[in-house]
Amino acid sequence: MTCFCRTKAVRALLVGLVASAAVVLLCEPALAAPQEADPDYRALPFISSRVVMWIIAELHLMFAAFVLAVPMFALVLEFIGYKTGDKRFDQLAYDFTKLLSVSFSFTATLGALLTFGLIVLYPALTKYLVKVFSWTFLPYVLLFFFEAVFLYAYYYGWGKFSPRVHLFLGLMLNIVGTAIMFIANAWLTFMNTPSGVDELGNLTSLWDAINNYIWMPINIHRLIANMAFGGAIGAAYGAYKFLGARTMEEKAHYDWMGYTGNFIAICALLPLPFAGYWLGVEIYAYDQSLGITLMGGTFSWLFIIQAVLIGNLFLAANYYLWLSMSRIAGAERYRRFIKYLLGVITLCFIVWATPHSLVATVEEARAMGGSHHPILNVLGVMSAKNTAVNLLILTTYVSFLLYRRANKDATVSWARTGNLVQFGIFAVVVIFVVFLGVYGYFVDAQTRIGLSQPQVFSVLFAMVAVTVIDLFLFRGARKRGEIDWGRIPARAQYALFFLAITFAWLMGLMGYVRAGMRQHWHVYGVIRDTSVDAFTPTLGFAGLVVSITVIIFFLFIAVVFFLSGLSSRKDWAERTKGTRRWFRRAKQEQSDSTLSVEAS
């Protein structure tokens, strides 16, 4: 086992180092080589280079997101276990961390493949990016090395170090991982919103090239999205183990794991639309062409697909919470609220998914008096969508609140007043959010964009204030019963699979949008794409590539789940003891009977 682990660790390290070194070593001579000797592009037989790089990059990104996210909440869970002395948290953190080892190897391998692909298939672009960012590769390589050291020390050192030392290793793992992501983000965001270069693309300031318009929004967006994605994959692992569990103890543990993963995913999902909105604002601010391509032009329909997917995420997350109530005694009294919550979710989902650019027949367009529908037109813009998403977030929070208080009765003297204040906060915030949404139609664009901030902050205020009141309200509360972990319908586990797949699909889709909005530019406005693939594929084709990528990713994830589960399996000798004994006996009997036949 130890040997296997060491081999794996060394292999991941080697792959990572080779990948990083390859960029520096292979591309530097190319810089010095005569220009005419280097082709700008190389083609692959049978398949387009762009599609190959697209799939590899997306797979690398998905695994990287997972590998960066899991240590974050593993550390938090471990810390909770350390502070409370509850061993279950420590075990849960370890269960999540078990998924990391294999995933890290996959991430490094895919990263190496991506690097080699770029060097071989897109030499001119790679050469230019290396020229601009050459100074960032050394810290990247070093950080990657430290990432491997901290990751394997964190995983294999579980229970081997003092808790504080182990927590420190986890913290370092997170810091190093985040730093790696920030560096890689600088390269890719530079391609979208290049800064720090002159009109000919010559570097004038490395810091400006790194700190371009969307660097920090992407950093924040990815940090949060990684948490959501990692939580969802972790929850899917819990669901997978739950469905295969044979004892109630196992079911209870993996039910809890699924719930915790989902809780992390949803907590991260709630602020994600705001981070995405900030990113959109920065893109628009950098260049209106990019902004319009993204939100109003070619890619606007992908945002409708995105809205449908995110709507599904919210619906599935709420659905899981409602099903989770079946494991709590006393939750029946809150069931009657589900239909109202669902009504609000459906309404907000519809508003969010309403397109601004309509698909209509000529007859339908004539009936509308043009390409705009007077009602849909109002719902198809950001004022309506921001309002809808804020209400969706608030509704999901209410579902969680009902789940949280399902088995409790407040015993404090001011319980009724507390409930009224909580209700009042919700009511005021909902009215405020809707008012700002409507007001947005009567002000200029700049003011309207600014209105999203008070909407966001009021929703955050409501969530924080209500949670604080709730904590005091249910202090010393009378319990109607314990949470019966493991008592949950199997379809709740399928909801967790659905969440993980939807998250992955969403990541693939939005990754394509971010890269695709450059259209015929490798580096927007600096290096033009002159390859045979310099066209925007149809939405159908893009959807197909994203779907294939997601399928491949989950095939890899199935391998990760299988390999991670091996450590908890019984030894082969022990597992097959009975079977082997039976075979031995059968063989013996057969040979005895043969001997007796021969003897007779």
Partner: protein, 275 residues
């Protein structure tokens, strides 16, 4: 909104709740079916002008998903619904009703096919991009104008020299009424005297989702290049907007843009800013 249809739908739901359930208790599955029909009727017939069929399909998919989630969110209700379906399929007392359903389903499919084929031939549906993305720069009478950084050169006069600004706006007004108002109308609602001969009809500048969302350089591009200058990704497009660069000077185009914003009361979207 078609208020009458919506009122009939609400009244029907209320009647089922108040009267029908007295002698025929309905389980959640039945309520789901009733709600599905009611919401479909509201989307398909309760909104005027009618929603495009693509939108009705999208909305109904969401509603169906929500109703299925509602049914299965409660294990007892789900079991009750499954029992009802099983009983309908296997119990002798439902034999006639089951037979009716088995006959009705293919008949409905046939009716749907017949209705589709009976319609006169139609051009294919198209997805129209409302705001096509502008290029990085355009060439205007030999001069390159970078659209991502170009500003209206007369906008700053709004604060520094109000009289000069008013003169530019006045010039814009003259140009608008000499050239644009025939299609875009005297109130800029896209309802000029020629407007109804076009498909799509001209843009309504009072609509908060048109010029209020755009930077002035975007308007400059659209006015200067018109329909012939639309990018290929914005097709299919049948706009009748002429390329005004052939008739107006650069200053005249910037002036008419000032007038559009002055008249409608909107502010152009600012450039840059965040980061």
């Amino acid at each position: 909104m078609n208020i009458l249809i919506l009122l009939i739908i609400v009244a029907a739901l209320a009647a089922i709740q108040l009267f029908v359930t007295r002698w025929l208790p309905l389980n959640r599955l039945a309520w789901m079916a009733i709600w599905w029909v009611a919401v479909y009727a509201a989307f398909a017939y309760g909104i005027n002008p009618p929603l495009p069929s693509s939108i009705v399909v999208l909305f109904m998919a969401i509603v169906t998903l929500a109703l299925v989630a509602y049914l299965s969110a409660d294990s007892e209700e789900l079991a009750s619904a499954m029992r009802a379906i099983t009983a309908f399929m296997v119990e002798r007392r439902f034999r006639v009703a089951l037979l009716a359903v088995l006959v009705a389903l293919p008949l409905l499919a046939a009716l749907s096919v017949y209705t589709d084929l009976s319609k006169p031939p139609q051009p294919p549906t198209s997805s129209r991009t409302i705001h096509p993305p502008p290029p990085v720069s355009i060439s205007f009478k030999g001069k390159t104008i970078p659209l991502s950084t170009a500003n209206n050169p007369y906008r700053e006069l709004q604060h520094s020299d109000e009289a000069a600004f008013a003169q530019h706006v006045e010039n814009g007004r003259r140009i608008y009424f000499e050239n644009c108002f025939y299609c875009h109308g005297d109130n800029m609602q896209g309802a000029g005297m020629f407007a109804h001969g076009y498909d799509p009809i001209p843009a309504n500048f009072n609509d908060p989702t048109t010029i209020a969302m755009l930077q002035e350089s975007y308007l400059f591009w659209r006015i200067a290049k018109g329909a012939p200058g639309l990018p290929s990704e914005a097709t299919p497009w049948s706009s009748a907007m002429p390329a005004w660069e052939n008739f107006l000077t650069e200053e005249e185009i910037w002036d008419v843009i000032l007038f559009l914003y002055e008249f409608t009361g909107y502010e152009p979207r600012a450039q840059g800013m965040p980061h």
